[in-house]
């Protein structure tokens, strides 16, 4: 029996391996050509002087030395970090929204849709309309402020208000997404946890603090990680709303600066080096978060 079935099974297995290999081939080939190879190439190019047309000329760590002394590099990196102030603001607001929409109340489905509309809207169109809304004299924002007797600034032309203006827009755009994830998580918190806490005499705040927040922590972790990775790559808003990098370079993000250097000044070697640094930074920050998260969950257990 075994002598006949073993060859048959291995032949079947081989056939299955071939089919499986064929099915996974497309993403693997796509990864090798469009991610793997460019990644290796970008490590190599980082150590060269290259205008994108001719051959890259090796120049050691010159690009990284230049970067260390490049005021614009540091400023655009600083701006990018500054934009991340919007992340905790957005998370708190979306959690409050989700808590409200999780109640037994009429109109929750309607509100859920309304708050989600900016998420699906194209960012390019949204950036254009917010640019217009931030117009100092005739924009929507200042007209609303005028109702309350506040004279608003010319938001995007002012180094002090340009970054907050972009943060407000980004929070507006992303609120619905985080809200939806929190809402889904809230609905999956088992009701008996709250019932047990009530029996123990826990108040609403205690229940929120000791049941809701810990139960939502996986979603919070997920949102923080994805928002930081996405926030590190902020570009479209900057490119459309402040095409020149803003007053006194105050809005330029790191990706905007990389793009500018690579495709307007054709300093491809230097731009690749900066892009590599960005990639490494994103990786480090993400790795740290995963480590912290593990310890944090450990603490809860």
């Amino acid at each position: 029996m075994t002598t006949t079935s073993t060859p048959r099974r291995s032949r079947l297995h081989r056939k299955e391996h071939r089919a499986a290999l064929a099915f996974v081939a497309a993403p693997v080939i796509g990864f090798l050509i469009f991610v793997g190879y460019p990644l290796v190439f970008s490590v190599f190019t980082s150590f060269t002087k290259w205008n994108g047309l001719g051959e890259p000329i090796p120049n050691g760590i010159d690009n990284f030395i230049e970067m260390a002394g490049d005021r614009y590099f540091w400023q655009s990196l600083g701006n990018t970090v500054y934009y991340m102030i919007g992340i905790p603001i957005g998370l708190v607001l979306s959690l409050l929204l989700a808590l409200a929409l999780n109640r037994k109340m009429r109109g929750t489905t309607f509100f859920r849709t309304v708050y989600y509309v900016p998420v699906v809207s194209s960012l390019a169109a949204v950036a254009i309309l917010w640019q217009w809304a931030y117009n100092g004299d005739f924009g929507l924002v200042n007209q609303v402020l005028a109702i309350f007797g506040i004279e608003g600034p010319n938001w995007l032309q002012n180094a002090a208000t340009a970054k907050p203006a972009i943060i407000i827009m980004a929070v507006w755009k992303g609120l619905g997404y985080s809200m939806l994830l929190y809402l889904a998580a809230l609905q999956s918190v088992p009701g008996h946890l709250y019932e047990a806490a009530s029996l123990d005499g826990a108040g609403a705040w205690a229940k929120f603090r000791h049941i809701t927040v810990p139960m939502l922590s996986p979603v919070t972790f997920f949102l923080v990680v994805t928002n930081i990775i996405g926030g590190a790559q902020i570009f479209i808003e900057i490119n459309i709303m402040t095409p020149t990098g803003g007053p006194e370079f105050s809005t330029a993000s790191i990706v905007w600066y990389i793009w500018q250097k690579a495709f307007n000044y054709l300093q491809m070697g230097y731009a690749t080096a900066m892009a590599l640094v960005l990639g490494v930074l994103v990786f480090i920050v993400t790795a740290i978060q995963f480590r912290l998260n593990r310890r944090f969950q450990f603490a809860i257990d």
Binding site: M105, V120, L181
Partner: protein, 318 residues
């Protein structure tokens, strides 16, 4: 395309979709809403609801107002834009901007290009993704989990980090200023989609497939007769999300496309904005932007339930 891939990508990071909670999500809500009328809620609860409804309404206005303002501006004359006090309802209402905008910018070719890119990427890419997901979930292949993890980890790589070498690849192939650099990377599949379909397939018992294998059915036939009907809802939801992401993409197109008639819709409206802002022709810009918003808003209105459910599923880990 790998750009969309990396911008969508985070969705899969560290997420394990809990099928059970995901499924329970909506029925539970529906049930609770059913009891709303019958069950008398405490008075303080109802008062809080009233206050919250008012607060949520104000917030809702803030969410929608910029979009309405866009529409309102697009119906104004150039002079009416600068009227003080501002006109919330345009007077006179002029539809002319919606005619002018088609000749002011290559809007029609922009829409066509966006349709070509989004449709080819998502249709071909979905076929590639679902077959890969099937193999990763149900077929035997040495090291398949290692392979899958490598692909999944790759979505952490920011697109800007690889965009310059990618650009030089396509430049060497003579594909700059064509739609190919936007289409080619996408048709090999989207690892986020693979992830979700693979997750979804975990609920399909292996025994069905084993039985079909013993019967000697081909793997493609197994996929299309047994697997595809089961995962169709998951595919539909992921397909819509991916389509909208490609449709809204901007960094990829801005790198590769130069000539106006080659640009996708997002680039067309961005350059319309650049050109006409200096002439303060805001109604024209707003008409263009509003036209660019309409397709996604229509798709959202139609597939609202699927979109919201699948996004909710993304974070459902409990």
């Amino acid at each position: 395309m790998s750009h969309t891939l990396s911008s969508q990508a985070p969705a899969a990071l560290g997420t394990v979709v809990d099928e059970e909670t995901g499924k329970r999500l909506l029925p539970r809500r529906r049930r609770s809403r059913g009891t709303l009328g019958a069950q008398r809620l405490p008075r303080s609860y109802r008062i809080t609801n009233v206050i919250l409804t008012i607060v949520l309404s104000i917030g809702g206005v803030a969410m929608i107002a910029p979009l309405l303002w866009t529409f309102s501006t697009s119906l104004k004359t150039r002079e009416a834009v600068f009227a003080l006090p501002p006109q919330w309802i345009p007077h006179p209402v002029v539809w002319e901007n919606y005619i002018r905008v088609w000749s002011a910018a290559p809007l029609a070719s922009g829409i066509l290009n966006s349709v070509i890119v989004s449709a080819s990427v998502t249709i071909l890419g979905t076929v590639a993704s679902m077959l890969a997901a099937f193999a990763f979930a149900k077929l035997r292949l040495p090291f398949k989990n290692v392979l899958f993890l490598v692909l999944l980890a790759a979505i952490m790589i920011p697109f800007p980090t690889i965009m310059i070498p990618q650009f030089s690849m396509f430049a060497a192939a003579g594909m700059v200023d064509t739609l190919w650099p936007l289409i080619l990377p996408g048709i090999f599949g989207n690892i986020v989609m693979v992830f979700f379909i693979r997750q979804y397939l975990a609920t399909v018992p292996d025994s069905i497939i084993e039985a079909a294998k013993i019967d000697g059915a081909g793997y493609l036939r197994i996929f299309f007769t047994l697997i595809f009907p089961v995962i169709r809802p998951a595919i539909a939801a992921q397909f819509i999300l991916w389509f909208m992401a490609v449709w809204n993409d901007y960094l990829g197109p801005i790198i590769y496309l130069n000539s106006p008639e080659k640009q996708t819709l997002q680039l067309v409206i961005a350059s319309l904005n650049m050109t006409y802002a200096s002439q303060t022709d805001y109604p024209l810009i707003m008409a263009g932007s509003f036209i660019a918003l309409i397709p996604v808003l229509v798709v959202f209105a139609i597939f609202q339930k699927q979109i919201i459910e699948s996004v909710a599923l993304t974070g459902a880990k409990g």
